[in-house]
C-alpha cells in the first residue's frame, strides 16, 4: 500500500501533467463500466487527485474485489497474477506482497517504456511536422519557380517567333538584294560588253580615220616632208648598207639565235657553276658528317672534353651502327668519286641517299646527346654545384697549410739563431765590459748590447710594475676600509651629537623658565637649536679643514664627498692616530694618496723630503720612485 501511494505521489511530479491526464482518461472508462458499477467514486476525482481517500479505488472494504479486479486486469494484460490471488482468501489485508510488487514494478516499467515511446513518437511527430512544413515550403517555392520558368519559356517562345519573323524578312531582303545584284551584274556585263563594243568601234573608226589621214597625206605628196642634209654620213660601223635579200634575213635570224644561244649558254654555265658549288658543299658536309659519326681512333688529342664525351658516347652507342656506317661510307666515297667524274643520275641519287642516311643518323645521335646533356645538367644541378669549388677550396687550404708550416719553421730557425747570437753577444759584451771597460768595441756590438740591456731592463720593469700594481691594489682595499670606517664613525658621531643635543635641550629645558612655551616649540626647537648650535660647533674644525683642503682633494672619492656633519678625513686620520699632528699631516696623508698628487705636492713643497724618501724608504718608496720616473731615461734606474 505504501508503495502504491508513494508511486502515486511521485508520479505526477515526475511526469508531464497533461500526459498523465490523458493516460488516466483513456484507462478509466473501461474500469467503470465493466467491473466497478458499485463503486461510488467517480473517475473525475480519481483522476484529479489520488489523495482523496473517499473516492479512492481501493478502500478497506473492497480490498478483495480490488484484488480480484486487478488480477483480472493483470490477466487480461498478460501478467502472471496467480501469486496475488493465492494469498487473497485469508485476510482482507492479505495481499501477497511480492507478486503484487513485481506486478507493480512490471507495470511501472511498462508505463515508463510506454512513456518513453510516447515521447519518442512525439518528437518524431514534431520532426515529421517540421519536415512537412519544410516540404510544403519547398513545394510552394518550386511551384513559384515553375511558374516563373513557364513565364520565361513563353517569353522565349515569343522572342523566337519574332526572330524567326525577322529572319524571314531578312531572307526576303537578301533574296531581293541578290536579285538586284544579279540585275546589276547583268547590267554591268551588258554595259561592259557595250563599252567594249563601243571602244572597238571607236578604235576602228579612229584607225580608219588615221588610215584616211595617212592616205591623204601620202596622196598630197607633202612638199614639206623632207630631209635636208648637207652631205650623207657614213655608217657608224663603217660598212656599206646592203640590199635586202633572203640571205640577209637568214643572217638576221642566225644572229638572233646566236645571241639567244649565247645567253642560254651563259645561263647554263652559271647554273653549272652553282650546281658544282652546291655539290662540293654537299660532299664536304657528307665527309664531315661521316668523320663525326664514325668513331675514328686517330682523333686529335687536343679535342675538348665535350668531344671526348661524344667519343665515348659514340663508341658506346654506335657499335651496332658501325657496319651500316662503314658500308654507307664506302658507298658515299664511291658516289663522291662518281659525282666528281660523271654527274650521272645514278650517282646523284646515291649521293643524296647516303646523305639522307647520314643525316638521319646524325640527327638521332644529336638527340641522344641532347638527352645525355640534359641528364648531366640535372645531376650537376643536384650535386655538382659545390663540387668544383670544394675541390678548389681544399686544394687551396692544403697549400695554405703548407705555407703556414713553412713560415713557422722559418720563424723557429730564426728565433734559434737569434737566441744563440744574443747569448753569445751578451757573453762577449759582459766579458769585454768587465775586462776592458773601454770603448774599443765597435758601434754595432754597442747597439746590440744596448738592445740587450734595454730588453733585460724592460723585463725587470715589468716585474716591478706588476708588484707595484699589486701593492696599489692593497692600498685601494685599505682605503676602502678606511672610508667605511669613516662613514661608521660619522654615523656614530651624528648619533652622539644628537644625543648631546637632546641632553643639552633637556638640560636647557629643565633650567629655562619658559616651560609654558615648551609645548609650542617642541617640534621646532631641535632644528632651531641645531642650526644655531652647529656653527659654533664647527668653527673650531673649519680652520683645520681649510689648511688641509689640498690633501683632502686628493682623497676625493665619490663616497667620501663632504656631507654636512661628516668628519673630514684629516679628522678621521687624527682620530685613528695615523697622523701625529696637523703640521706633519701632509707627508703622512699623501703617502697613502695617489702617487701623482704626491709627486706634485712634494715637488712644490720640499724636494728634500722626496729625496730622503727615495733613498731612505723601504719597498714602497722604491715603487713610488719607479712610478714617478717612468718616462725618465733608463740610465738613472739602471744603477
Amino acid at each position: 500500500m505504501e508503495d502504491w501511494w508513494t508511486t502515486a505521489t511521485i508520479e505526477p511530479s515526475i511526469e508531464n501533467h497533461e500526459i498523465s491526464g490523458i493516460a488516466r482518461l483513456m484507462m478509466s472508462p473501461s474500469r467503470h463500466h465493466k467491473n466497478l458499477p458499485t463503486m461510488h467514486s467517480s473517475t473525475m476525482p480519481l483522476s484529479k487527485s489520488s489523495y482523496n481517500v473517499l473516492s479512492a479505488f481501493c478502500t478497506e472494504d473492497n480490498v478483495p474485489q480490488c484484488i480480484s479486479y486487478i488480477n483480472q486486469e493483470m490477466d487480461s494484460l498478460g501478467f502472471s497474477s496467480a501469486c496475488i490471488e493465492a494469498s487473497s482468501p485469508e485476510g482482507s489485508g492479505g495481499l501477497n506482497t511480492v507478486p503484487a510488487l513485481n506486478g507493480m514494478y512490471e507495470l511501472l516499467q511498462m508505463q515508463r517504456r510506454s512513456q518513453r515511446s510516447l515521447q519518442e513518437q512525439e518528437t518524431e511527430s514534431l520532426k515529421i511536422s517540421s519536415a512537412l512544413e519544410h516540404l510544403q515550403i519547398t513545394n510552394s517555392r518550386l511551384k513559384d519557380q515553375l511558374e516563373l520558368s513557364k513565364r520565361e519559356k513563353s517569353g522565349l517562345h515569343e522572342a523566337e517567333r519574332q526572330l524567326q519573323l525577322k529572319i524571314k524578312t531578312l531572307q526576303n531582303c537578301l533574296k531581293t538584294e541578290k536579285d538586284e545584284v544579279q540585275k546589276l551584274q547583268s547590267i554591268i556585263a551588258s554595259r561592259a560588253s557595250q563599252y567594249n563594243h563601243d571602244t572597238k568601234r571607236k578604235e576602228r573608226e579612229s584607225t580608219k580615220l588615221k588610215e584616211r589621214l595617212n592616205q591623204l597625206l601620202v596622196d598630197k605628196r607633202d612638199k614639206k616632208l623632207a630631209i635636208d642634209v648637207l652631205n650623207y654620213l657614213g655608217r657608224a660601223d663603217g660598212k656599206r648598207s646592203q640590199w635586202k635579200t633572203g640571205k640577209v634575213e637568214a643572217r638576221h635570224e642566225g644572229e638572233m639565235y646566236k645571241s639567244l644561244l649565247s645567253d642560254y649558254e651563259g645561263r647554263q654555265r652559271a647554273l653549272m657553276l652553282e650546281n658544282a658549288e652546291l655539290k662540293k658543299v654537299l660532299q664536304q658536309m657528307k665527309r664531315e658528317m661521316v668523320s663525326i659519326l664514325s668513331p675514328s681512333p686517330r682523333k686529335p688529342c687536343s679535342s675538348s672534353r665535350g668531344d671526348r664525351v661524344e667519343d665515348s658516347l659514340e663508341q658506346a652507342g654506335s657499335d651496332r651502327d658501325k657496319e651500316v656506317g662503314d658500308c654507307s661510307r664506302e658507298t658515299l666515297d664511291q658516289s663522291c668519286d662518281h659525282a666528281r667524274e660523271q654527274s650521272c643520275e645514278h650517282a646523284r641519287e646515291q649521293l643524296t641517299n647516303s646523305i639522307r642516311q647520314q643525316w638521319r643518323r646524325l640527327k638521332s645521335h644529336m638527340e641522344r646527346l641532347d638527352s645525355q646533356a640534359l641528364l648531366v645538367q640535372q645531376s650537376q644541378q643536384r650535386a655538382g654545384k659545390e663540387l668544383v669549388p670544394r675541390q678548389i677550396h681544399e686544394e687551396e687550404m692544403e697549400r695554405m697549410r703548407l705555407e703556414v708550416q713553412q713560415c713557422k719553421d722559418f720563424i723557429q730557425t730564426q728565433q734559434q739563431l737569434l737566441q744563440t747570437l744574443l747569448t753569445k753577444c751578451v757573453k762577449s759584451l759582459v766579458d769585454q765590459r768587465q775586462q776592458f771597460n773601454s770603448p774599443c768595441y765597435d758601434d754595432e756590438t754597442a747597439a746590440l748590447l744596448n738592445d740587450c740591456y734595454t730588453l733585460e731592463e724592460k723585463e725587470r720593469l715589468k716585474e716591478e710594475w706588476r708588484l707595484f700594481d699589486e701593492q696599489r691594489r692593497n692600498f685601494e682595499r685599505e682605503r676602502k676600509n678606511f672610508t667605511k670606517a669613516a662613514i661608521r664613525l660619522g654615523h656614530e658621531k651624528k648619533a652622539f651629537e644628537e644625543d648631546r643635543a637632546s641632553w643639552h635641550k633637556n638640560q636647557f629645558l629643565n633650567i629655562t623658565p619658559f616651560v609654558d612655551r615648551k609645548r609650542h616649540s617642541a617640534s621646532e626647537t631641535p632644528r632651531a637649536l641645531s642650526t644655531s648650535s652647529e656653527p659654533e660647533m664647527r668653527i673650531p674644525s673649519t680652520p683645520a679643514r681649510l689648511t688641509k683642503s689640498r690633501t683632502y682633494a686628493a682623497f676625493s672619492t665619490p663616497k667620501a664627498a663632504p656631507v654636512a656633519g661628516m668628519p673630514s678625513t684629516a679628522d678621521l686620520y687624527r682620530t685613528l692616530r695615523l697622523i701625529p699632528d696637523s703640521s706633519s699631516s701632509s707627508r703622512g696623508s699623501s703617502k697613502r694618496g695617489s702617487w701623482q698628487e704626491f709627486n706634485n705636492f712634494h715637488s712644490r713643497e720640499d724636494p728634500r723630503v722626496r729625496s730622503r724618501d727615495r733613498y731612505g724608504g723601504g719597498d714602497c718608496c722604491s715603487i713610488f720612485s719607479l712610478g714617478s720616473e717612468e718616462t725618465a731615461s733608463p740610465e738613472d734606474t739602471l744603477q
Partner: protein
C-alpha cells in the same frame, strides 16, 4: 664636293654626251655644247625655234634637236660644225623624235601615232612603220642596240614587232595576250622582252627574242595593276611596282615571284635604318630685327640647314590619302631603280611622296628609308658606285650610300632649286637642273680623297 657656277638652260634640256666629254644644253633656240671638265663653250648652234627635245647620238658626234610644234628636227655635228641636217615632218606633225642606236637614223613619231618615220642620215631614205601604239613606252631598243621592240595596235589587238636596227628588218611580229598594252622593255642582256598591260589589269608577259612567250605573271585581279617596271642591270630580277603599294621581284629562271616589298606606313623592320631629314631654321629674334638684318638674312632664311637623323623604330611615315575618284591616283610604286652593281633597289611610293626606300637585293629586305621634308622629285643611282642621289625641289642635294646619308646645300645664288638631276657616266659629277639653270656638282674622286689624306 665642289659646285660649278650656275649655267642657263631651258626646258630642263641638258645632256652629257655618251662618251662623257661634252655637255649639251639648250637655251631657248640655241644649243650650247661645252666641255664637261672646263665648261668652256665648244660649239654654239642656233635652231629654228625653241628646242623642246634634245638628244645625243650614241657615238657622241651628233646632237638632235626637236621642235615638235613646227614638226622640225635639226641635227648638228660636233666634228663638222657647219654640217647640218633638217628634217621636216610636214603637216602630219611630230610628237616624239629619237635616235636609233646606231646614231645614223632618226625615228620620228607623227601626231596621232599614225606612223613612225625612220630617216636615214646615210642615204636620206625614209621608211615608215605603221600602227604604232600610243602608250607609256611603245618603243624600246635593246641595250646592245641590235633590236627594237615596237608596240602596235591593229584591229583592236596588241602586237609587238621586233626590228633589227641594222637595216630595219622586221624580225618578229606577234600578237600579245594583253587587253591594252602599256609598255615594252628589253632586259639588259637583250634576250627577254617584258610586256605589260595597262593599269586596269595586272599582267606581265615575258617574251623571248624569238617571239616565244616565256611566262605570264599576274599578282591579282580586279584592281589597278602595274605602275612601273624595272630590270636589274644583270637581267636577273624584274621588279614590278604596282598600285597596291608593293614591289614584286621576279627571277629570271622560273619567272616566278621571289619576294614582295611592302611599303608600310609604319616601319617596324629592325634591319632597316630610317634616315629622317630634319630642318634647322636659323632662329630669328623677332624683337631686335631691323630691316637691314632682314635683307642680309634673306638668303639664309631661304637656305635652311638640314641634316639627317636616324629615327628609332617604329617610324610613322607621312601618308597622303589619294583621291581615288580621279584618274591616275597618286598611289602605288611609280619609280624604281636598281643600282649599277645590282645590290640595291630604290623605290618611291606615290602616296608617300617624301620617302625613298632602299632595298637590299642580296638579303631581299629593306635596308634604308630616307624620309625627306618635301616630296622627292627625282632619284638616280651613280652609274659606277652604289650611291643614290635625290632631289626634292629645294636647294639641296641628298646622297645615300650604304655608309650613310648626307644632305648638301647647293651654294648657288638666287634660289637655285634642284628639280632634276643626272649623273655623269663616270659617276664623278652630277648635273643638277633647276627651273632655268643648271649646276654641276663634282664629287670627290678617290684620288682626290687620297690626296686629302
Amino acid at each position: 664636293m665642289n659646285f660649278s657656277e650656275v649655267l642657263k638652260q631651258s626646258n630642263q634640256l641638258c645632256r652629257v654626251s655618251p662618251d662623257g666629254k661634252y655637255l649639251a644644253t639648250c637655251v631657248q633656240y640655241r644649243l650650247v655644247v661645252r666641255d664637261v671638265n672646263t665648261l668652256q663653250i665648244l660649239h654654239l648652234y642656233t635652231c629654228l625655234d625653241q628646242i623642246v627635245h634634245m638628244e645625243w647620238s650614241s657615238d657622241s658626234l651628233f646632237v638632235l634637236c626637236a621642235m615638235y610644234k613646227r614638226g622640225l628636227v635639226q641635227v648638228w655635228s660636233l666634228e663638222q660644225p657647219d654640217w647640218y641636217c633638217k628634217i621636216d615632218e610636214g603637216s602630219i606633225g611630230l610628237v616624239s623624235s629619237r635616235w636609233s642606236p646606231d646614231g645614223r637614223h632618226i625615228l620620228n613619231t607623227t601626231e596621232f601615232h599614225l606612223r613612225v618615220t625612220v630617216w636615214s642620215l646615210c642615204t636620206k631614205a625614209v621608211s615608215y612603220i605603221k600602227y604604232p601604239k600610243a602608250c607609256q613606252k611603245g618603243i624600246d631598243f635593246s641595250r646592245d642596240g641590235c633590236y627594237m621592240a615596237l608596240a602596235e595596235r591593229r584591229d583592236c589587238k596588241d602586237y609587238v614587232s621586233m626590228f633589227v636596227c641594222d637595216d630595219w628588218h622586221l624580225l618578229r611580229h606577234f600578237e600579245t595576250e594583253t587587253q591594252d598594252l602599256a609598255g615594252v622593255e628589253w632586259s639588259p642582256n637583250g634576250c627577254v622582252l617584258a610586256v605589260w598591260d595597262s593599269c586596269l589589269e595586272y599582267k606581265v608577259l615575258l617574251y623571248s627574242l624569238d617571239g616565244r612567250l616565256l611566262s605570264t605573271f599576274s599578282a591579282y585581279e580586279w584592281s589597278l595593276g602595274i605602275k612601273s617596271l624595272a630590270w636589274s642591270p644583270s637581267s636577273q630580277f624584274l621588279a614590278i611596282g604596282s598600285y597596291d603599294e608593293k614591289v614584286r621581284i621576279l627571277n629570271h629562271i622560273t619567272w616566278k615571284k621571289v619576294t614582295e616589298f611592302d611599303h608600310p606606313a609604319t616601319i617596324n623592320n629592325t634591319k632597316a635604318v630610317i634616315y629622317k631629314e630634319v630642318e634647322r631654321r636659323p632662329v630669328v629674334g623677332s624683337a631686335d630685327l631691323s630691316i637691314q638684318q632682314h635683307i642680309t638674312m634673306g638668303s639664309t632664311l631661304f637656305n635652311t640647314q638640314s641634316k639627317y637623323e636616324i629615327c628609332p623604330l617604329p617610324v610613322q611615315v607621312p601618308v597622303v590619302k589619294p583621291d581615288l575618284d580621279r584618274a591616275n591616283p597618286k598611289v602605288g610604286v611609280s619609280s624604281m631603280a636598281f643600282s649599277s652593281d645590282n645590290r640595291y633597289l630604290a623605290t618611291k611610293n606615290d602616296n608617300m611622296a617624301c620617302v625613298v626606300w632602299v632595298w637590299d637585293m642580296q638579303r631581299l629586305g629593306l635596308l634604308a628609308v630616307l624620309e625627306q621634308t618635301s616630296a622627292v622629285r627625282c632619284f638616280q643611282w651613280d652609274p659606277r658606285r652604289p650611291r643614290l642621289a635625290l632631289c626634292t625641289g629645294n636647294a639641296k642635294l641628298y646622297l645615300w650610300s650604304p655608309a650613310g646619308c648626307v644632305s648638301v646645300q647647293v651654294p648657288a645664288e638666287g634660289g637655285f632649286q634642284v628639280q632634276s638631276l643626272n649623273w655623269h657616266c663616270s659617276g664623278d659629277s652630277l648635273i643638277l637642273l633647276g627651273k632655268e639653270q643648271l649646276c654641276l656638282c663634282y664629287m670627290e674622286t678617290e684620288e682626290e680623297e687620297d690626296n686629302d689624306k
